[in-house]
Amino acid sequence: MTAVPVKFYQTGSFAAGNRLLDPELRSVQSDAARANSLTCGHRACQGCGEALGARYALDAVMRATGRQMIAVNSTGCLEVFSTPYPETSWQIAWIHSLFGNAPAVATGVAAALRAKGQTGVRVVGQGGDGGTVDIGFGCLSGMFERNDDVLFICYDNEAYMNTGVQRSGATPPAARTATTPALGPEPGNVFGQGKNAPLIAMAHEIPYVATATVAGLRDLEAKAERAMTFHGARYLHVLVPCPLGWGTAPGDTIRIARLAEQTGLFPVFEAVGGEVTSVSPIRRKAPVEDYLRLQTRYAHLFKSAQGAEVITRLQAIADRNISRFGLLPDQDGTEAQS
C-alpha cells in the first residue's frame, strides 16, 4: 500500500474539503465503514441523497439516449464529489464551468450540436438548488425562455451544502442553516420567503416540468426518461436529503425523502406545457412533525414552547400543498389529475 505525502494546504471548508481525498485513498473511501453507503458518488458523504438522485437520473437519461448525451454541471457538491481526478465518476461527456452558468453552457452545447447537425446527442444541465434557483436562475430562465433543447435537473437539498450549509432560496421556513441560525425571536429561516422553482418553471410554459424525490427512484427514472421524449427546455426538480446539512442519519435518507412526500411538504407531480398533468398521491399521510423531528436543522422547534406554533405553520404549508395539488384524492374529494 502506498503512503501519500502529507498534504500541507489548508482548507477548513466545511464540506468541499471533505471530499478532496487523494486518488490513492480511494480504497479508504470504499473500505468496510463505507460498504453500506447508499451512494455511488466517489466522495460524497455517506447517505448523500444528491449522489443517489444524480446516479438514477443520469443513468435513466443515458439509457433513454443510448449514451448519446453531454452533461453540464454547476459548481456544488455533485460537481466536487463526482470528479476525483484522475478518475472521474462520469462515464459520459461532462463539463463544469461555473456556479451560475450551467443552463447557459448547456444552451451553448445544444447550439453547437444543432449547428453540427448532431441532433441525436442530447444535453442535460444539472446543479444544486443554490446553483439552480439562486445564482443560476437568470441563466435558467433565459434557457427556458429560448426553449433551448436542454433538460435541466436540480438536486434540491435545500441549502448551499458544498460551502457548509448556508441558506438558499430553496431553504424551507424554520430550517436552521449557517446563515439562518436558530437564534432570536424567529429562529431558523424566516417564513414568507423562498421560491418554488417548479412552479416558476411552469410559468415559463416550457414543454415539461416534473418533481421527484429519492424516495421514488423508479418515478425519478421514469420522469428523466419521459423528459427525453420532449424537445425544448425541460426541468426536473429532485428533492435529495443531505445528512450533513439536515442533520439526519445517513441511513435515513430515503425515509426522510418519503416523509417529505407523505407530509405534503414536497408535492411530486408532472406538468406539460405549464399545466399539471399528474400528481403522485400521498399513500399514507404523515404529520410534518414526523418529518421535522428526524432532522437536527429543526431541533430548535422541539426545544421551545414557540416551536409548536411554528410546526403548526409548517403543517399549514403542507396542507395547502395537499389541497392545491390534490395529493390526497380521497380525503378532500379532489381527484388527482391524470
Binding site: 498534504k7 500541507f8 494546504y9 478532496l20 449514451r67 448519446q68 448525451m69 453531454i70 453540464v72 454541471n73 460537481e79 466536487v80 470528479t83 481526478y85 472521474t88 462520469w90 462515464q91 459520459i92 461527456a93 461532462w94 463539463i95 463544469h96 464551468s97 461555473l98 451560475g100 452558468n101 447557459a104 453552457v105 448547456a106 444552451t107 451553448g108 452545447v109 445544444a110 447550439a111 453547437a112 450540436l113 444543432r114 449547428a115 453540427k116 447537425g117 446527442v121 437568470g138 441563466c139 430562465s141 433565459g142 425562455e145 429560448r146
Partner: protein, 626 residues
Amino acid sequence: MFEVRIHGRGGQGVVTAAELLAAAAFAEGRYAQAFPSFGSERTGAPVVSFCRIDDRPIRTREPVTHPDALIIGDPTLLHQVSVFDGADRGTLVLINTAGEAGSLGIGELTRELDPPGAVTVPATELAREHLGRPVPNAALLGAFAALSGLVSVESVQAAIGERFPAAVAKGNAAAARAAYDLTARVVQGAAPARQAAGGPARQPADGLGTVAQIEGSQAVAAAVASCRPEVICAYPISPQTHIVEALSRAVKSGDLARCEFVNVESEFAAMSVAIGASATGARAYTATASQGLLYMAEALYNASGLGLPIVMTVANRAIGAPINIWNDHSDAMSQRDCGWIQLYAQDNQEAADLHLQAFRLAEEVSLPVMVCMDGFILTHASERVTLPSQQQADAFLPPYEPRQLLDPADPVSIGAMVGPEAFTEVRYLAHARHGLALALIPQIAAEFAAQFGRDSGGLVRPYRADGAETIIIALGSVLGTIADTVDELRAGGMPVGALGITSFRPFPLDAVRAAVGGARRVVVLEKALAVGIGGIVSANVRMATAGMRQHGYTVIAGLGGRAITRASLRDMLRRAGRDELEPLTFLDLNTELVQRELDRAAAGRKSGPAAENMLRDLGAVASRIG
C-alpha cells in the same frame, strides 16, 4: 487632405451624407473616411458628421476641427451651435436655405473668420420636389460637388444608387443633379472636378476579395462570417451592436449557413454559451463592450482557464459609473489578466483582418482571443477595407480541430477542481501557451501578409522609431493620429517616433524593449486609468525597459470619448521633448472644473454626488460663457 464637416438635425440624413460623400470619393479612386459625431436620427436633434478625402490613406482619427468645408443642413443651427468653430477664410460654406445668405446674419458670427462668403442652396425644397420628402442630404451633396469640385456629381449619384432602393435612389439622384446645376450657376461654373492621383485599385491584386467603402462594424461582421463560425451568441451593448446585428442578418437570411445565432439574456450568458459551444467543438464567436465585458468577467477567466478558443470582438468603450457609452480602453484593460490573448486594431482593415488571424491563433494555442477595436471611432467609421473572399478565408483558416471535445463517443470530463498540488503548474502552462502565442503571432501575420498582400497584426508596429529620441507608445486607432503628428514633428525637426502595440496579451517584452531601446524617453499614451496608481500600459512597458535609464511619461488621454487631437499631441510631445511633462499627465484635463469639485468636497461632508456636481457645474459654465 480635404476635411468636411456636416451640421444638421436628426432626420436630415447628416450621417448618411458623410458616408455618401465618402462613397463618391471612393468611387473616384480616392481614400475617404466618414464618421458621425452626434449620430442621432431623432427629428430635431443637432447632429454632426465628418468626412475626410485624400489621395493617400487617411490616418488621423480626430474630429474635423478645422474644416475645409462646412455643410449646414439647417440654417436655424447657425445661432444655436458654433458651427463655424475652426473655420477660416478658406473654408467653403454651404447652407441649406431657400432664403438669401445675407439674411441669415452670418456676418456677425463669422466676423473674425472672415470667410469668403457662404453659398446657399434650397436643398429641402429640391428634395421635396424630386424625392417627395424633405430630406436634403442628397441635394446638399450635389450642390457641394458643384461648389467644391471635390467629387463629381456623377459619383455622388452613383453612391446614392448603391445605397438606396431604386425608387428612393432615383429621387435623391435627381435632387442632387438639380442642386448641382443650381449651384454651378450661383458660383458661376462648377469647380473643376479634382483628379485622383493614381488612386488605389478597387479590386485586390489576386482578383479575390472585395474592396469596399464600409462601416467598421460591417467589415468586421463580414470578416467574421468568412471564418464560418458555428455558434454566435450576443447581447446588445453600444457600440458593439452593429456587428452582431449584421451577423444576425447573415444567419437569418441563410447567407451564413450551418451557424446558430443565439440571442441571450446577458453577457454572462453570452460567454457561457460560447464556452459550451466551443467545448462541443463549434467555432464560437461573440462581441461585447464596457459593462458587458465586466458582467462576463467570471466567464472570461473560465473560458481561458479551460483553454477554449473563442474569439470575441470588444468594441472598446468606457466603464461606469458614471455610465458613458464612448470610447476608451478601460473595458479591455480591466480584463487584461484574464488569460485571454488581446489584440488591438489600428484601423478597420486591421480590425477585419485580425479576426481571421484570431481564429487561427486561438485554435492553434487553444486560448481565447479578444480583438479590441475602438468603439465608434472604428466601429462606426466608414473607410476603405478589403474584405476576404470565402475562398481566401478558407485557405487561411482551416476548420476548427479542438484539443478537447465533449463527445459521447469519446467522453471526457472537463473542468474538474485542481488543488495546490498542480495549480501552479496549470497557471504556468497558461503562461507558457501565451509564450507560444508570442512566437505564433508574427508567423501568422507573415503568412497573412503573404496570402493577402497586406500587413495586419503582429506584435508591435514601430513608426519612424529609428533614431527617435522620443518614442510614443499607444494602442488602437489613435496610432493613426499619432503617425500624422509624428510626421509633422519630424518635419519640424523633432526626432520623435511611435510604437504601436498590437498584441497586448501576450505582452511582447522583447519587441518593446528592442523598439524603444535607443530612445531617451518613452511617452505612453493610455486610454485607460488605473485609479490609485496611473498608467496600465506604462507599467507593462516598464517591465520591458527594466534597467534602462529612460525618462518615462504616462499620458492619460481620450477617457470616455474625449477627442485626441493632433494639436494636443503635438503640444504634449514637444513638452515631453523638453522633459517638461509630469510623469503622469491627463491630456486636455479641465483643471478648473476638477478644482471646483475638490473645493466643494473640502468645504463640507455632504457635498453630493461628484459626477453630477461636475455636470451641473459644466452646464452653468457653458451658459455663463454666452
